[in-house]
């Protein structure tokens, strides 16, 4: 098991290195640069050139990349060219804010997804299956920014019972005011994982139901509830893999949902960095998110291996 984990961790190194190169390459391919966005349109060209020189943007791309990578290895994520603030400050607060949404959205989405998927599979072909499958497909299909706007229109504008935007007082959400700010964006964000997981659980459970060992369990006279536990355990590895990916997506922050709810999370930060061509912020954000994605997937791999020893091979 230790070798299995070590191998997974070592795989992460070339992945992250590749991600860092791709980030730099893509940023260079996009038109315009931070100097042009930092100063007013009427700024003479020499002012923009001076700024590029000051921030080392006039150096060859590979040189900029190597300097950045060198600093990164020493734990220095750099300074935002646009705000002059340390990237680590912006990034840690943004990821913290996104976690406040992603964790409850994942818990809600996964719990509902597993419950609805299992119920739909058990009642296969019946009205409950059709209803729950319809719900799952709706969750996946509706543009979630639109759902967010509709929820705001109903609960904030019309009935004025929940805030329309923002995250309220900072800190761990423990007060009612902080929780109020979470409700609408968490519901909005949970729809996709709920739909995806529900569909997958239904399909996996149905597949396992048709296997011979289930018939054997029935023949042995096991209780229906016990049989379902066996089925869920067998379905877990594939569902876990998808849940890991979905949680990774949630951690990346939804640019659209964060925009609708004016939530200062990682999606919002990345969006700002893209439009500002703020290379230090953009590079660090993508790299850290990619790192988190990799870590989540390693954890999922380990969990899968724990549940199903065949996967360690």
């Amino acid at each position: 098991m230790e070798i299995f984990i070590l191998r997974r961790v070592l795989y992460a190194v070339p992945i992250l290195l590749g991600v860092s190169i791709v980030i730099f390459g893509l940023v260079q391919l996009s038109p315009g640069d931070v100097a042009d966005l930092l100063i007013p349109p009427e700024a003479p060209k020499e002012v923009a050139d001076l700024l590029r020189q000051k921030f080392g943007l006039d150096r060859p791309v590979y040189e900029q990349y190597l300097i950045w990578l060198g600093n990164l290895l020493q734990g220095d994520l750099g300074v935002s060219i646009f705000t002059n603030q340390p990237v680590i400050d912006d990034l840690s607060s943004a990821i913290g804010n996104t976690l406040k949404l992603a964790v409850p959205a994942a818990v809600l989405g996964f719990a509902l997804g597993i419950a609805l998927g299992a119920l739909a599979a058990v009642g296969r072909g019946g009205w409950l299956d059709k209803l729950l499958s319809g719900l799952a497909i709706t969750g996946v299909s509706l543009p979630h920014y639109w759902v967010g706007i509709v929820l705001v229109a109903i609960f904030s504008v019309t009935y004025n019972i929940l805030p329309a935007q923002g995250m309220g007082p900072q800190g761990f959400p423990s007060t009612w005011e902080q929780i109020q700010h979470l409700i609408l964006p968490v519901i909005t964000l949970s729809l996709i994982p709920m739909g995806v997981v529900s569909r997958l659980v239904r399909a996996s459970v149905l597949e396992i139901l048709s296997q011979e060992f289930v018939t054997t369990l029935h023949a042995k006279g096991l209780l229906h509830r016990r049989i379902l536990l066996h089925i869920m355990k067998n379905a877990a590895p594939s569902v876990l893999a998808v849940m890991g990916l979905q949680f990774g997506y949630l951690l990346g922050g939804s640019i659209l949902v964060e925009t609708v709810f004016n939530w200062p999370g990682s999606g919002n930060l990345m969006n700002l960095a893209i439009f500002r061509r703020d290379v230090p912020v953009l590079s660090a954000t993508i790299l850290v998110l990619a790192g988190l994605f990799v870590v989540i997937n390693i954890l999922v791999d380990v969990l899968q291996a724990l549940i199903d020893p065949r996967m360690r091979r």
Partner: protein, 528 residues
């Protein structure tokens, strides 16, 4: 589409009471809190909210009246004069008794320290971001020196009679506070100190900034009535609208035009004012095969746009533009061409230029998807495209991202950055003579300046040169009128609309005077 749909959805809602107390809560259009070191980014919206309320310049805008175009007034300098023997030298008498928010005095040393911060890249307090913004707006500063503790001399690289108009874009921060926080601009941004009527008490990047009344402000007539302000960056118009309607903020900048009728119906006030702020097409006169090199084609285009229809499209948040300054203002003059929506006249002009149904004018225009001051570029340009087609002017668009447009604007119009376009739709300030020099003076042709279209007119250059060395206001005033007449008749721009700078606020907000300016004064504002 998202904006329109959601604005319509939210427009169905009911008004909710705000809960403000003495703190005015404003949703800005900026995507982040503008920088707080005293020379804010985020364009002129940054200056409006995180500039003038907290920091001040030697010269300030007079934003006290809604009835006249905002002009300059003394700020940290009580008075100034141009050296009669050497018109490149300006002497500023600094105001006594002004202190920064940290209690340290504003004097000539503090002023010189700030000038070094902007113009001397070797100075320990040099601030690259602030310097880039200041130098962009004040490229002519050649030197400065302290004469005594309250007298300062600034020299320019050539005589510039309108130099004080450029100084409103240079704000002063506290040297003492900078040293106190460890001589670091990132640390200063978290605990800034200026001389303005408000001081920053809390700064949360990307979330909000809190301002409190500066009760010891030097100008006793302008001590704020509010206890404070909370400013939120909210780039999405729909989110701003929802925040206003749910009572989370008291005031939003740029409400979506679709939502204005419902906002009015729900008792919110829509505040606009008329002032010159053009949203034009800048014609590319340098491109060899551009149809707009022919003045008749430029005039024809100006006769073939339905400005009133555009205003209707925008629900009254803009007004027609017929020139650099507003028609009817003292600076407009009497140009030969009074542009109206007259397709027949446009077609006649095009016929004289050799164009007609069999040979339409074909042109490509660079437009952005969004951007500072760009209003609603996509529907507005589609509207223009349809109108111009009636006169056999076929327009194609090169749709680019805002940053790409800025790159093109700074480079030669025939360079690869301009993507071969014949015009560019970019919102440009049109408030005073200093801007006329930026956009139309032949010495400022891109890439050496901001005359992107390479407009050149001998009479214009001559008059501008005379204005730059002029000393009498009356003489300057007549010449400014003539400059406007020239740009109207020569039409280097397609004059489309002036932005009315709409904002929506709850009925709790009182005392706001909507100045004829992009900038506003928050000191008289109060909450019921």
């Amino acid at each position: 589409m998202l904006l329109a749909t959601s604005a319509a959805v939210l427009g169905l809602g009911l008004a909710a009471p705000a809960m403000a107390g003495g703190t005015l809560r404003i949703a800005m259009t900026a995507s982040d809190v503008p920088t707080t070191t005293g020379m804010p980014n985020n364009g002129y919206e940054g200056m409006r909210f995180l500039g003038y309320p907290i920091f001040e310049g030697l010269v300030l805008w007079d934003l006290s009246s809604a009835d006249t175009l905002a002009d300059i007034r003394p700020g940290l300098a009580e008075s100034w004069s141009q050296d009669p023997n050497d018109p490149t030298k300006w002497v500023f008498k600094l105001r006594h008794g002004v202190t920064f928010h940290d209690g340290s005095p504003f004097n000539a040393d503090a002023a010189i320290w700030n000038l070094e911060r902007y113009y001397n890249s070797d100075a320990p307090q040099f601030e690259p971001q602030g310097s880039a913004i200041v130098r962009a707006r004040n490229p002519n500063v050649a030197g400065y020196r302290k004469i005594d503790d309250y007298t300062l001399e600034i020299s320019t690289d050539r005589p510039l009679s309108y130099f004080p108009y450029l100084l409103v874009y240079m704000l002063y921060s506290s040297p003492t506070q900078f040293e106190k926080v460890g001589s670091d601009w990132a640390a200063f941004a978290k605990a800034p100190s200026g001389t303005g009527p408000f001081k920053i008490t809390d700064f949360k990047p990307r979330i909000s900034v809190s301002l409190a009344k500066n009760a010891t402000y030097w100008d006793k007539d302008r001590v704020p009535k509010l206890d404070g302000m909370e400013l939120y960056p909210m780039p999405e118009a729909t989110t701003r609208l929802a925040a206003l309607r749910s009572g989370q903020v008291d005031w939003i900048e740029v409400p979506p035009p679709d939502a204005i009728p419902s906002l009015k119906g729900a008792g919110y006030e829509i505040v606009t004012n008329s002032y010159p702020h053009n949203w034009p097409w800048v014609f590319n006169l340098a491109k060899e095969d551009s149809p707009f090199r022919d003045v008749k084609v430029r005039q024809a285009a100006n006769y073939c746009i339905d400005r009133d229809g555009m205003v209707e499209l925008l629900n009254g948040t803009a007004e027609p533009s017929y020139g650099f300054f507003k028609k009817g203002s003292g600076k407009f003059g009497s140009p030969a061409n009074a542009y109206t929506f007259d397709p027949d006249k446009a077609k006649a002009l095009l016929a004289e230029a050799g164009y007609g149904p069999d040979k339409p004018v074909k042109a490509k225009v660079m437009i952005s998807t969004s951007g500072s001051g760009q209003m609603l570029p996509l529907p507005m340009n589609e509207f223009l495209q349809q109108t111009l087609a009636q006169c056999n002017i076929a327009i194609d668009f090169e749709v680019v991202e805002w940053g790409t447009m800025l790159v093109a604007f700074r480079n030669d119009p025939t360079g690869p950055q301009s993507l071969g376009v014949d015009a560019m739709n970019i919102s440009l300030v049109s408030s005073d003579i200093s801007q006329m020099a930026r956009w139309f003076w032949s010495a400022n042709m891109a890439p050496n300046g901001s005359n992107w279209g390479h407009f050149q007119n001998a009479e214009y250059d001559k008059l501008l040169g005379e204005i730059q060395v002029a000393s009498g206001d009356a003489d300057v005033s007549a010449k400014v009128k003539r400059l406007n007449e020239i740009v109207v008749d020569e039409a280097p721009w397609l004059w489309i609309v002036h932005d009315l700078n709409a904002r929506a606020m709850s009925d709790k907000v009182t005392g706001f005077v909507s100045a004829q300016s992009w900038f506003q004064d928050f000191t008289p504002v109060d909450l019921k």
